[in-house]
């Protein structure tokens, strides 16, 4: 009965979402207060329905109900409880349900915490989100029902994809979806502003914390995915330019641009039309990402089971949602105005360059991702665009962006003198280059690209320090700790996020230049050496887990005779799906990772083992964490809470968890 109940709830949720969408949009148009007043209660209702339906699916997994097709395809009686729960979003149907649940959580948060905007505005925002949710519910019910029965029931399930049986993978999709779907808030605010015809600095203030919160989740989701790939795929790489990775990276790039352009719209009332367009595009790219993953137009390691009907439905949905909002933009954007003027050299103009670079980077990724499809569609053959394209295009776009961080934060709004800014920065540039050269010499080898990357990282660090000094000086004669406490959270968040970029750049430059790897044949008692570390295989033994069998090697790592760690890489074979999985073993500290993974077994019983030395690689994910922390801090700035605290209904941080 539970699956039928869940199915029924989804149908109800669809009805509620359609009603809310229609009624509230019409109500806002005709100024019918009682219709608009339905927006909040109906949002709560939608959330309750979807959350309960989701609970039904979780229950079916937990209870091993193999008469549900989706459960039978993604679970197994030997699967541990936590992976059974995670299995709920381990396949296509369930992850769609998760998508809708996330959307309803964001809608609920907007309904609860966005108290300042007028009722007609909120009614429109929630109606747009309800309609987006309705589209996904319809998609689920028509082509991908997670509650479909399998009669007679399967005796046992086909098991969760072994790749997904990892703690990182349990949290990666929900976080990524929170980010993807979170951009629907900015999208709904943009559409509501276009419909209402008014857009000003207050609008930007309403939408900014939501956008930043979504961006924080997306950053976390992407970072987690990269970390997972590093640990789980066994290649030791951290980013592969896989189409589906790109699909999550494009909204991130545009979202980053949006955060910056929103800053201009809020502070200076400029970039209005552009900000609205970015808000639409960021969410459109999230939808496009969904299309690319689900439709099978691109081949990828992430590919879900492909079904042409699904692809067609999402394509129609894309055409409707994105086409309608871009049409609305074309018709109404002129009415919201272009905003304040600013001087040729000012923080605004530098942020404009930032936006152009981020948009160009996103365009390059989009082109690279879809290029194989374009050629194939034009009948020009099948090709695949690999990492070389992306590396070559991406670095030249990112380098000036990083340079701008330092210049932009030290340039005044409205207008500044180029000469003054250069004078302000005259010591920073040589200091950054000197530090980069020193680091390179200490690491043992100097290279153009490395020095450039490191210099940019130091450059951000130094200019952030100068900016902080300026902030403190401007706060008069109070004690240092008091001055420090008066620095706004918005500024601190920005600085922290920029330091995250610096840490990221530092990690990438170090890993790319100084990493070393070696494939060796190893049996018990064999040793190998890399970057001064000695690896000795102690033993090789079969082990078995709840639903897999594995060959595990025990490898002792020592340096100069001192034992540092014992690593236990595995080659697993999951019983049901029978494909081999490489479980790498990593000894990690902030200065370096030692990474060991098992390849193939050779005829004489020895294994091909890959050992890798990766200096500073954790800085890449550390940088992501800093960016996230910065975003969270900035979103919690006092000015987004000022009105809310008066109403005393919002928790202290003003941002949904």
């Amino acid at each position: 009965m539970i699956p039928e109940f869940g199915h029924f709830l989804l149908i109800l949720a669809l009805g509620v979402a359609l009603t809310q969408g229609g009624l509230c949009l019409l109500g806002a148009h005709r100024r019918r207060g009682e219709w608009m007043a339905l927006a909040r209660p109906m949002t709560v209702l939608r959330f309750v329905l979807t959350a309960t339906a989701f609970g039904c699916l979780v229950a079916s997994f937990v209870r091993h109900d193999f008469s549900v097709l989706y459960v039978a395809s993604n679970s197994n009686s030997a699967l541990p409880l936590h992976y059974r729960i995670a299995g709920t979003w381990g396949g296509h149907e369930g992850s769609l349900l998760l998508w809708v649940l996330m959307l309803d959580i964001w809608s609920l948060a907007v309904a609860r915490f966005s108290r300042t905007p007028p009722p007609d505005f909120i009614a429109r925002v929630l109606a747009v989100m309800a309609l987006v949710g309705a589209g996904f519910l319809l998609f689920m019910l028509l082509t991908s029902n997670p509650f479909e029965r399998l009669l007679p029931a399967a005796p046992d399930g086909r098991d969760l994809n072994p790749l997904l049986q990892d703690p990182g993978m349990v949290t990666h999709p929900p976080m990524l979806y929170m980010g993807y779907v979170g951009f629907s808030v900015a999208y709904a605010f943009a559409v509501a502003a276009l419909l209402g015809g008014n857009l000003d600095a207050t609008w930007a203030r309403w939408v900014r914390p939501w956008t930043t919160a979504a961006w924080v989740f997306l950053t976390f989701g992407i970072g987690l995915g990269s970390w997972w790939a590093y640990n789980e795929l066994g290649w030791g790489g951290w980013w592969f330019w896989d189409p589906v990775e790109n699909a999550s990276f494009m909204p991130w790039l545009v979202g980053t641009a949006l955060i910056h352009s929103l800053a201009v719209t809020e502070k200076r009332g400029a970039f209005k039309g552009w900000t609205v367009l970015l808000a639409i595009v960021a969410f459109s790219l999230s939808l496009l990402g969904t299309f690319l993953v689900r439709s099978g137009v691109l081949s990828s390691v992430h590919a879900f089971a492909t079904d042409p009907r699904r692809g067609l439905f999402i394509l129609g949905f894309l055409a409707l949602v994105i086409g309608a909002s871009l049409m609305l933009y074309a018709v109404r954007a002129a009415r919201v105005g272009l905003g304040q003027r600013f001087a040729l050299f000012s923080r605004e103009s530098l942020l404009l360059v930032n936006n152009m670079l981020l948009a160009a980077a996103c365009g390059a990724v989009l082109l690279g991702t879809l290029y194989p499809l374009f050629l194939d569609a034009l009948g020009l053959g099948k090709i695949s665009v690999g990492p070389p394209y992306f590396d070559n295009v991406f670095a030249p776009l990112m380098a000036p962006l990083l340079l701008l961080i330092g210049v932009g934060t030290l340039t005044k709004w409205k207008g500044d003198q180029l000469g003054t800014v250069i004078a302000r920065l005259r010591w920073a540039a040589p200091a950054a280059i000197a530090a980069a050269v020193a680091t390179g010499l200490a690491a043992g080898r100097l290279g153009m690209a490395t020095t450039g990357g490191l210099a940019l990282a130091y450059w951000i660090l130094i200019t952030a320090g100068m900016d902080l000094a300026g902030q403190l000086r401007a706060r008069g004669r109070a004690s240092w700790s008091e001055r420090l406490s008066r620095v706004s959270r918005a500024w601190a968040g920005m600085a922290l996020a920029h330091l995250g970029v610096a840490a990221f750049a530092f990690g990438v430059a170090m890993v790319k230049t100084y990493e070393t790897e070696r494939d060796v044949k190893m049996g018990p008692n064999d040793t190998t050496e890399i970057a001064g570390y000695e690896f000795r295989m102690l033993k090789l033994a079969p082990v078995s887990g709840p639903n897999y069998q594995a060959m595990q090697a025990e490898i002792e790592v020592s340096r100069a005779g001192r034992v540092l760690a014992t690593l236990r890489p595995e080659k697993r074979v999951y019983r049901v799906q029978t494909n081999p999985m490489t479980e790498a073993a990593v000894d990690s500290n902030p200065l370096r990772d030692l990474y060991v993974s098992m390849g193939e077994q050779l005829d004489d019983g020895a294994w091909v083992v890959r050992v890798q030395y990766k200096p500073f690689i954790v800085w890449i994910w550390g940088g992501c964490l800093l960016m996230m922390a910065g975003g969270a801090l900035a979103a919690s700035d006092r000015r987004y809470r000022s009105r809310a605290t008066r109403e005393a209904v919002v928790p202290a941080d003003g941002v949904p968890a």
Partner: protein, 176 residues
């Protein structure tokens, strides 16, 4: 209306057109180097009767279908019903199964549960025959003509459309 503001929409419409065409294409439809070449020879035991063997040359002189399947393969379930129906039609060509990297009891249990469309299934537990045929995903289906030449290869499950629009017309042509 400001013309410039229409640009995003125009770009999106162009993108949409490509995506629509892309939906019809299959990125996995890589032209197989084996098409037009003789089917690789094999000789292996039957899944159901381990004492009997089947080899490629036993099929010489007739048009036949080789379907690679396994009991662990989820996508095989999708096409299975279709193959069962096809095999029962009058005038259908013999369908030989290649039971790929599977266990004998599991393979047999799978067939008795879901129906058996195969005249015979060849047992290939270590995937050696699959390797010769360039199998890189299960299911795959080959059409082989009277002279033992591979004429068609379907990667992934046989869909009703592929059967109707490609496989059956080709079989008719090969018979004619």
């Amino acid at each position: 209306m400001n013309r410039r503001l229409l640009w995003p929409l125009a770009i999106f419409v162009a993108l949409l057109a490509f995506l629509a065409v892309g939906l019809k294409l299959d990125p996995r439809e890589v032209p197989s180097p084996l098409i037009g070449k003789p089917a690789p020879a094999f000789s292996a035991t039957l899944l159901a009767e381990p004492q009997r063997r089947l080899q490629r040359d036993d099929m010489r002189g007739q048009v036949w279908m080789l379907n690679v399947w396994a009991s662990w393969c989820g996508a095989c379930r999708e096409e299975h019903q279709l193959l069962v129906e096809y095999s029962r039609q009058a005038g259908s060509v013999p369908v030989i199964g290649l039971n790929y990297k599977d266990q004998r009891p599991e393979g047999l249990a799978w067939l008795s549960r879901l129906g058996n469309p195969y005249r015979d299934s060849v047992f290939d537990p270590d995937g050696r025959i699959g390797l010769d045929y360039g199998v890189y995903g299960v299911p795959e289906t080959f059409i082989i003509d009277r002279l033992g030449v591979i004429r068609y290869k379907q990667i992934g499950p046989v869909t009703p459309e592929a059967l109707r629009d490609k496989i059956i017309p080709l079989l008719r042509e090969l018979h004619g």
